[in-house]
Subunit: 252 residues, 2 copies
Amino acid sequence: MIRVVLLGAGNVAIHLARAMQVSDNIELVQYYSRSLENSSYFDPEIKHTDNLNNLDEADIYILALKDEVVEEFSKRLTHVKGLVVHTSGSLDLNALSSLSRSGVLYPIQTFTKERSFSLKTIPFGVECTNPEDIKLLKSMASILTDHPFELDSQARKRIHLAAVFANNFSNYMFTISKQLCDDNNLSFDLLKPIIKETAEKINYMSPEEAQTGPARRNDHMIMETQEAQLNSDLREIYRMISRSIQNKYNQH
Amino acid sequence: MIRVVLLGAGNVAIHLARAMQVSDNIELVQYYSRSLENSSYFDPEIKHTDNLNNLDEADIYILALKDEVVEEFSKRLTHVKGLVVHTSGSLDLNALSSLSRSGVLYPIQTFTKERSFSLKTIPFGVECTNPEDIKLLKSMASILTDHPFELDSQARKRIHLAAVFANNFSNYMFTISKQLCDDNNLSFDLLKPIIKETAEKINYMSPEEAQTGPARRNDHMIMETQEAQLNSDLREIYRMISRSIQNKYNQH
């Protein structure tokens, strides 16, 4: 049984807490948060504290906090004996350098507290300062996911950047398309089947092969007509992405 | 029974042919294509012709052709008595103005011949020059899909533009993320769960609400670090989309 204390009550913390609660081999002994704002998302059986001096003993302390506070926050945990890990895709392991036993547990996923899903299929990158801690962190991660793997800070930042394109930016393309629907009194529901297929397709072919559309075909007439329908901000985005697609497919 | 002749043998034609073949109320009597290149994707029972003078009689002729050839091609169909429709999102109905009975049957989906799926959930926009033809086209569309609806050329172009963002551009974001994985010897499979969740999330919340990431949080430090990892083309795309997200979320 691996004893865990969770620090944070945001989207990542809530998802990790749910997964640990249903596992037989992890005991989530306590969670820390300053306020009880999100307490309804946590099982009432999990003890809560808002005082870092009252942290229970545990094998692993998980800091599921905003990137910008992790380093300062970790300086208040020097009294802790267990392994302390953060969950950020972009923070260096060194952010925890004030601690003797530190690591990273990075789930490659986008979390929203209102959504609930199994973590089993989600890749978790793990990294530790001390080689002996890797075994502990990996065995803990392997309880949560079928895909734990070692990932150093450099590679983690790369995958996080790739995830920004894969998730943040693709979602923003959905936002723009919804905006265009709203502006023209068309239901965004009309686009849901094509969005579903866009995501499913990449399990059967590479996104390079899946690319379609006016820029892929180098269809200048349609691109000009479409640009003319956009305001200046969106036109810039349309042009830049189209030009990049054209360069990729039509100059080789 | 509605009799249909299909003209074209590309991705859209192949998907329409499959759906018509399994329907009880549409008889796909013939398909036309210049070559037999994609004939393996068509049921051998469907008659083929490469001669427009040998077209069978039908209620509806579907031109599933490249946008740029539709208008010229339609001028060779003036001898046809049935309703002639194209399937393009961006071509005006007027592209068929040399014909007395013309229309549009636009499925809002991205089609690849290697993929196979039901058309039932896919919205089909329909439009006709003659009001009396709308009934015929709508009843034909309603055999293929549960979501046929009238959509004029103006609105169709808007939804097609929205679909360029929702599909073409989001897929290109996947392509960039795969490129970043490849460049760093990281498997693109690591991002498949997050891409799946990105698409599924919008069924539970709007993409505006689903937006996460450094630009959404206005996290300048991470954005600068990430920009520095990109080549100049990708950096421009990263900056422009990030700036647009920042403007949307951080100035209101």
